[in-house]
């Protein structure tokens, strides 16, 4: 009774532009979303899946215009609900590659609950959070990820909320794949996003995205040639956590806390923390590291593929139900346990 079409034609060799729709892209000049779109089209083209098997799903916002620009199936839904719609799509057809792309307001403010529940269920979808720390589409109010004290149209004296740490929140919700990347770092984006798409479970990827109009430069501390090496640390599974322009700094554990140390002068690489993607506690530590106190972690922070996805369990349970109820028909259901006949 499934409805998806199968296709015997061999998989075409795609170019990224095959994934570009005929719609004119309408972001502001200089918007970080352009780079992400490029990155997604590139990664999709070489994923080894057919164009028609992708569904991109978004909420509302600048970032949420994303699906219109992908020459795949797509849904531009309503504000905050993309993870819920994606859940329905994936349950109805688990063969599809489902990717949610939306903004920080959409996925963390109005949509925070759906994001959290999609994560905890471990739906096999990829969530791309384009975090520009602002409401772009509605012209620049602070968002749940805005820096404390941020002055915006709705907070002339500075915002009072303590910002959400998206990675921390995702971990708190039990996420099994967490990564962070940068709009302009195409290489890292490609690596991380491809892994996210392939991850069988809910992959949550935060993208530091520049809003050229309302929040230009928020990420300059982490995105510029000179700031990036100093203020971010690139994580690689099994490798020590070293950073700095001269790769001369590292991270070390001190009791239940992390500290930044200078290499050399008695401190050696051996003392440093070694990245272990599979360690949830380490993931918590890393997620809590924020600028300016710490370099911010980039790359795959946590990946635990050993947990089945919800859709996998869902499918198994359907099989189980079919086994248990072998031979039970709709007629049986209509009849039920107790019937009687009225004679003519």
């Amino acid at each position: 009774m499934t409805a998806t079409q199968t296709n015997d034609v061999p998989l075409p060799t795609y170019k990224p532009k095959d994934f570009a729709s005929d719609q004119e892209v309408r972001w502001c000049p200089g918007c970080g979303d352009y780079a992400v779109l490029k990155g997604v089209q590139k990664a999709a083209a070489k994923l080894g899946r057919r164009k028609e098997d992708f569904v991109f799903i978004s909420g509302i916002g600048c970032a949420a215009r994303f699906p219109y620009y992908m020459n795949t199936y797509g849904m531009h839904t309503i504000h905050g609900r993309a993870p819920a719609v994606a859940t329905g799509v994936k349950l109805a057809n688990p063969d599809l590659t489902v990717c949610v792309v939306s903004g920080d307001g959409d996925l963390l403010s109005i949509g925070g609950n759906h994001t959290m529940h999609a994560i905890r269920r471990n739906m096999d979808i990829t969530i791309l959070l384009l975090n520009n720390r602002i409401y772009g589409l509605t012209k620049g109010q602070y968002s749940p990820t805005s820096e404390p004290g941020k002055k915006t149209k709705s907070t002339p004296l500075g915002s009072l909320d303590f910002p959400i740490n998206p990675l921390g929140l995702a971990l708190g919700a039990g996420c099994k794949f967490i990564a962070r990347t940068l709009d302009v770092d195409l290489k890292l984006f490609d690596e991380v996003y491809t892994r996210g798409l392939k991850f069988e479970g809910c992959a949550f990827i935060e993208v530091y995205q520049d809003c050229n109009i309302f929040n230009h430069g928020t990420y300059f501390y982490a995105s510029q040639k000179d700031t990036k090496p100093e203020n971010t640390v690139m994580l690689r599974h099994g490798e020590p956590m070293i950073f700095g322009k001269n790769m001369d700094k590292g991270l070390r554990r001190k009791c239940e806390r992390i500290e930044v140390v200078e290499l050399g002068g008695g401190v050696t690489e051996d003392e440093l923390l070694v990245h272990d993607e599979t360690n949830p506690l380490l993931a918590h530590m890393l997620a809590e590291m924020t600028y300016p106190e710490f370099p911010e972690p980039m790359g795959v922070i946590y990946a635990n593929p050993d947990v089945p996805s919800y859709d996998e369990l869902f499918a198994e349970q359907i099989d189980q139900a079919e086994r248990i109820n072998e031979g039970k028909t709709l007629e049986d259901l209509l009849l039920g346990e107790k019937t009687w006949r009225v004679e003519g």
Binding site: E52, M70, M75, N93, W340
Partner: protein, 628 residues
């Protein structure tokens, strides 16, 4: 099988119909006893209608009036449509039950009470004044046939020596009471004994409990036979129902069966995404066991997620369905608007309850009609259908799904707490006679050709249903206004007006499939009672009664509210006076007056329960006579 009854008792008096009500504490098993009486009566061939009525609390404190649980049943040898207004026989397991229900008993009616529970403490707990015991009240005794039976003691005695705790033994009192009722109304014990053995014996694997219950049931029956407390017995013969195989069905069950039938008849799996809420939760419960019939269920984190998941499923090629009650429908508003602009099939079941806000969750009302029709920002029309009775929930749901798929338009199905929980006999349909639901997914596209996601079928105005996974049909839908044909985003003024009108017209096109509206009574005349939804039973019965009184009153009951039946305007015009009884402040009334400019009058009782036929008859007479 029409079962015939065999005991060696003096012949019972033959009567047409009886209304019996079981009442007691929530923990007293009244729903079970009532349900068994109903099932047995149905099997004996009576027409039946039931009305379970329980408190909002899970286990309200014992002995309080607000903790009383009731189950009312009318069984009859003629066609009936309601569980009845007044009670002929009341079984009260405690003083609180008696207190809450005694006023509903007809003068001269039978009242059987568990005398053991009428202790000083219990009488006070439910608010009787000190020193007063209704079982000893001479005035009551003159009004009713009150019989106190020491049921607790008799049950314990009957089960002496059983390998059960006292608490477990006491739980069998409901079977003792049921036994008395079975004797009094000449019912067969067989079906209940079968049920007990099946449930306790086999499923729960507690044969000792099964045995005790059967014993208590029989003890009650024999008590009736021997005690000579009752002046007479009564028998209600089988009703002349249409030939066929029957079962009992509640509204929620009927929705479940209908949805499974939709999956079967469309050949497309169905996803029911929902969030629990009284009185709709049972639909989720029952559907969750039907994965082998192409039904999938998803309990979402809230109602918004539920409808969104259903919309996602529809986009991906399943039939998305969500179900809820008023407060949940409120939350689904925005996403329903999305489904409307997406133009995807979607079925929203709303089992109405008394509002506003959380209101009275376990009570019934018809006050979500406005919300279903008009409760969305922007011009967002969708199909709205309403079921009239428990069994009709089957046909209405099936019809809603058929129209929703045919026109690629969301449909709201209105049920309510009264029919959702109430039951009636249902003639099980022959599946081969139910027409298939045609689904045609769009065919893979030609390479290079741009897919027109909003090109329409000229007759139904449906747009194509194009599934992800289909090569060549890649397209994006969105909640922004869409360009005609392409479905691309459009801010063009005239395009917007066109699309607004097309969406409205699409709903109207569904009217083509609506058959003529049947009229009860005469095709034209003085007064027409127009109704929708669960008032059907009361209105039909009132119509018959009024006609019996020589009044020129007819009635019509509509299932389709958006669109309205095409013949409705004509029908209304054929009557001098239109009266619309509703369990709300006049919602259909507003629609009808606006649409047809008829000076229809409302009869509006908003009491959390179905119309009493008597009240309705009186209200109709008031209107008729004030004008005569």
């Amino acid at each position: 099988m029409t079962t015939t009854h065999e005991t060696h008792q003096p012949e019972p008096t033959e009567i047409d119909s009886v209304v019996i009500r079981f009442c007691g504490d929530s923990g007293d098993g009244m729903q079970l006893a009532g349900g068994q009486f109903a099932a047995t009566s149905a099997i004996l061939g009576n027409d039946i209608a039931t009305f379970p009525d329980f408190p909002a609390e899970i286990r309200a404190p014992r002995g309080t009036t607000f903790g009383v649980s009731g189950f009312q049943l009318q069984f009859s040898s003629t066609d009936i449509n309601t569980p009845g207004d007044m009670v002929n026989a009341l079984i009260a397991m405690n003083p609180a039950g008696l207190k809450v229900n005694i006023d509903d008993v007809v003068a001269g009616g039978i009242v059987i009470a568990n005398a053991d529970e009428f202790t000083e403490v219990n009488l006070r707990k439910c608010g009787y004044p000190e020193g007063y015991n209704p079982l000893e009240d001479a005035k009551l005794a003159s009004q009713y046939q009150i019989v106190g039976v020491p049921m607790s003691r008799l049950t314990r005695e009957a089960l002496e020596g059983a390998d059960m705790t006292v608490k477990e033994i006491d739980r069998c009192r409901n079977m003792f009471a049921l036994g008395i009722a079975y004797w009094l109304f000449d019912r067969d014990l067989g079906p209940t004994i079968d049920h007990i053995n099946e449930y306790y014996g086999r499923i729960k694997n507690r044969p000792e409990v099964a045995e005790a219950n059967v014993k208590a049931l029989k003890a009650g029956y024999y008590f009736g036979e021997n005690a000579e407390l009752f002046p007479a017995r009564y028998h209600v013969s089988p009703a002349k129902l249409e030939p066929g195989v029957y079962r009992q069905i509640s509204g929620n069950q009927a929705v479940v069966k209908a949805l499974a039938t939709v999956a079967n008849k469309s050949g497309v799996n169905l996803l029911y995404a929902s969030y629990p809420i009284t009185p709709a939760s049972d639909i989720l419960h029952d559907l969750s066991g039907l994965k082998h019939l192409g039904v999938r269920t998803f309990q979402a984190e809230d109602e918004i997620a539920a409808i969104c998941a259903a919309v996602g499923a529809s986009f991906a090629g399943q039939i998305g369905v969500t179900g809820t009650s008023g407060p949940g429908l409120a939350l689904k508003t925005e996403a329903l608007g999305m489904a409307i602009i997406y133009e995807l099939p979607l079925i929203v079941i709303d089992v109405q309850r008394a509002g506003p806000s959380t209101g009275m969750p376990t009570k019934t009302e018809q006050a979500d009609l406005f919300q279903a029709l008009w409760g969305r920002p922007g011009e967002s029309p969708c199909l709205v259908l309403a079921a009239r009775s428990p069994a009709d929930c089957f046909d209405t749901t099936l019809e809603a799904a058929r129209l929703s798929i045919k026109h690629m338009c969301p449909a709201v199905v209105l049920s309510d707490g009264y029919i959702a929980n109430g039951a009636e006999p249902w003639k099980i349909p022959d599946l081969s006679e139910i027409e298939p639901i045609e689904v045609s997914f769009a065919k893979p596209g030609d390479n290079g050709e741009v897919f027109m996601g909003y090109k329409r079928d000229p007759e139904t105005l449906a747009r194509p249903w194009a599934l992800p996974g289909t090569p060549g049909l890649e397209h994006r839908i969105g909640s922004l206004e869409k360009q005609d044909l392409t479905g691309n985003v459009s801010y063009d003024p005239m395009n917007h007006e066109k699309m607004v009108k097309i969406r409205a017209e699409k709903v109207q096109r569904a009217a083509a499939d609506i058959g003529p509206t049947p009229i009860r009574g005469s095709e034209s005349g003085e007064t027409l009672l127009l109704g929708w939804g669960s008032t059907y039973g009361a209105i039909a019965t009132a119509t018959d009664r009024l006609r019996g009184m020589g009044k020129d009153v007819s009635s019509a009951h509509i299932r389709h509210i958006a669109p309205l039946p095409p013949d409705l305007g004509d029908i209304l015009a054929r009557f001098d006076r239109v009266i619309i009884p509703e369990i709300n402040m006049g919602q259909l009334l507003t629609l009808i007056r606006a649409r047809y400019l008829v000076d229809a009058k409302g009869i509006n009782h908003i009491r959390g329960r179905a119309f009493k036929v008597d009240d309705l008859v009186r209200s109709v007479l008031d209107i008729i006579e004030s004008k005569e």
